[in-house]
């Protein structure tokens, strides 16, 4: 069966009344949580996880797809009107979008962000529908040894590229790996790092870690360090519409943003920071209105917003086809799948094609619903920004605690949540990136499993790890990712010295 037919069947099952309602609910909740300042898509999805515990897998996944796109959509509204980007991907949007809002062009900025997200999301989901199965077909042949190499590359790129300091990224990863070790070892039953606590034998819940490191860590950090800083909402005049000139200036950046964002989502480049920055740079150098950049150029909103959305869809390719999350948000979605005992990866396309095609179809539907519902409703979302900060954080924190507790109705999870919250505070205070920790926690146990499997097959011969050409190529990449930034640094240092 080819992708196109499967996709049509996916649409057929996604278009049932109840699934559409779940999609609608997802877009609503996603936008709602995404609009709230300080909540990025990763936290938004993690916070909404408890709501889906009781619905059927396909409905839940449809809801997640909608929440995913909805949260990103809501996030751009906040960056434009409040200048407080909820996640790294919207930093650039805030840059130009907020300036546009100050010039009284909030409506046009919101519209180009929304329509750009829609265009990018639709194109990218289309490419996703046709590339993911191909990659999955190929990935079925990928052995355990190559998986080990693949995960090591994902680890090192995410740790190296995020944040300003490579070593802090790797330390964050190591802490995540430690958290992933806690519990009984699956093969031998050996209890590791449990210190005699029975509840710890089950391991540390990923959802608990994600919710607490983002929500509780942020609350502790903001409360104790940025108490006085308030927000200033820029009032929105008129409606969210674009003039003919705005359209003319926007459509090319949308396409270029998609072209930059999607491929960078597939490779583990560590989330949407790099593609949005790249897109901004490209638009700035191509634009005829260079002087406007920094003062509210619409291209500077259209391009990065499209790149951000295409990047998010791109990140779903390795997630669905390989079971390999490459960003914090993709990691949360992986956990959402696992809650339903579904393991994303190459086998999923053959074992559960109906589910995966329904999911892909609902990405299209969610994206369209967002555009239809949200542009007219933008005033309603803006009202949400007026919730006072004290109540907002109180709500986020208590909901995070509820999420941590409701997972297993266990107070052990709550103690873990508080401890991880403190870790989140320390990481923010000492400039450590958080995404590597989450990847380490989720992929660490998987890495160990594949590593052991590879060596069992080879009867303990370590040579198997680098036997295939793919592994060799991956280890070469790994070497470059770790060494290249240091070489560049060294060369710059030497140059600076010789110039003196």
């Amino acid at each position: 069966m080819n992708s196109f037919n499967s996709l049509l069947e996916g649409f057929a099952s996604a278009f049932s009344v109840s699934n559409l309602l779940f999609g609608l609910l997802g877009t609503f909740l996603g936008t709602l949580v995404g609009v709230l300042p300080g909540i990025g898509p990763a936290l938004a999805i993690a916070l909404l996880l408890p709501i889906t515990y009781t619905v059927s897998p396909s409905s839940a996944l449809i809801m997640f797809a909608a929440i995913y796109y909805g949260a990103m959509y809501g996030g751009s509204t906040t960056s434009i009107l409040l200048n407080t980007p909820g996640e790294s991907g919207s930093v650039i949007t805030a840059l130009e979008g907020n300036k546009m809002a100050r010039n009284g062009r909030a409506g046009a900025a919101l519209a180009t962000a929304a329509i750009g997200s829609f265009v990018a999301g639709t194109i990218a989901t289309f490419i996703l529908a046709f590339t993911a199965p191909t990659i999955a077909d190929w990935a079925i042949k990928v052995g355990a040894a190559e998986y080990v190499a693949l995960m090591l590359v994902a680890f090192s790129t995410v740790s190296s590229l995020l944040g300003s300091s490579q070593i802090r990224g790797f330390i964050s990863l190591a802490v995540g790996l430690v958290l992933g070790l806690v519990g009984a070892d699956l093969q031998s039953g050996l209890s590791r790092l449990t210190f005699g606590n029975d509840a710890a034998l089950e391991g540390i819940e990923t959802v608990t870690v994600i919710v607490s490191i983002f929500a509780l860590g942020e609350a502790l950090y903001i409360a104790s360090r940025f108490k006085e800083t308030g927000w200033k909402i820029i009032p929105m005049k008129g409606r969210a519409l674009m003039s003919r000139d705005d359209w003319k200036r926007s459509w090319k950046p949308w396409i270029r943003g998609t072209a930059i964002g999607f491929p960078l989502g597939i490779i583990p480049a560590g989330g949407s920071e790099v593609p949005t920055f790249l897109s901004y740079g490209v638009e700035k150098s191509l634009s005829k209105n260079k002087a406007e950049f920094g003062k509210g150029a619409i291209e500077g909103v259209a391009g990065p917003e499209a790149a951000n959305n295409a990047n998010a869809a791109g990140a779903l390719v390795p997630l669905l086809a390989l079971g390999l999350p490459t960003s914090a948000t993709a990691a949360v979605i992986l956990v959402a799948f696992q809650t339903y005992q579904i393991q994303p990866g190459p086998l999923l396309f053959s074992t559960n094609p109906a589910l995966i095609w329904t999911l892909i179809a609902s990405l299209f539907i969610g994206n369209t619903l967002l555009l239809i519902l949200n542009l007219p409703l933008v005033r309603f979302w803006v009202q949400l920004l007026k919730i006072p900060r004290t109540y907002l954080f109180a709500g986020i924190v208590s909901f995070a605690m509820l999420g941590a507790y409701a997972l297993n109705t266990s107070t052990f999870d709550l103690s873990v949540a508080i401890a991880i919250g403190i870790v989140g505070f320390l990481f923010r205070r000492y400039g450590m990136p958080i995404t590597p920790l989450i990847l380490g926690l989720i992929l660490g146990p998987n890495l160990e499993l594949q590593f052991r499997r590879a060596l069992q097959i080879s009867a303990g011969d370590y040579g198997t790890l680098i036997a295939s050409p793919l592994s060799k190529a991956l280890y070469l990449t790994l070497f470059l990712v770790i060494v290249a930034p240091n070489v560049i640094k060294l060369v710059k240092k030497l140059k600076a010295k010789s110039n003196k």
């Binding site: 408890p50 430690v178 409360a223 104790s224 004290t390 109540y391 949540a417 000492y430």
Partner: protein, 163 residues
Amino acid sequence: MKFKPGAKSELTFVGSLFALGVLVFWDTWRTELPEINLTISPKLFPYIVSFMLMLLSSILFIQILRGDLATPEGLEPGDKIEKSDLRTFILVLASLFAYLLLIERGGFVIANSVTFVGISYSFGNKKLLKASGIAVLLSTIIYFSFTKFLHVALPAGIFKGLM
């Protein structure tokens, strides 16, 4: 030796990461292996992780000693690093512990309301009566929508039989 402001606390933080590495090493070393034949010992991976953590935190420790301090989130490199407000930090933490202690003894509505008001107060809200009203209302709505519509059981606590 003179330190830049903030260096001492960061050194303590990185030192505790090193200690975490030592802890992982010690825990792995002291546990006894079950008597089964495995190609790869379940101890290998923890050992690697503990060495990685100890090595990396030592390198970072030296970097900090040489003046390469972290930039706290939300600040630009070179910004003055202010001390965290310890009192507020403890207030937030206490609100979190209140939830942990109250959820099964007092029930969801009480735990959630206390935490809500506590956090709101930590963020500078002085109108405690209004905050309490909102907290109780919100908690009750959440309680009923979770137990009745989503079928996620939450502890009723002291209101058992009433709710």
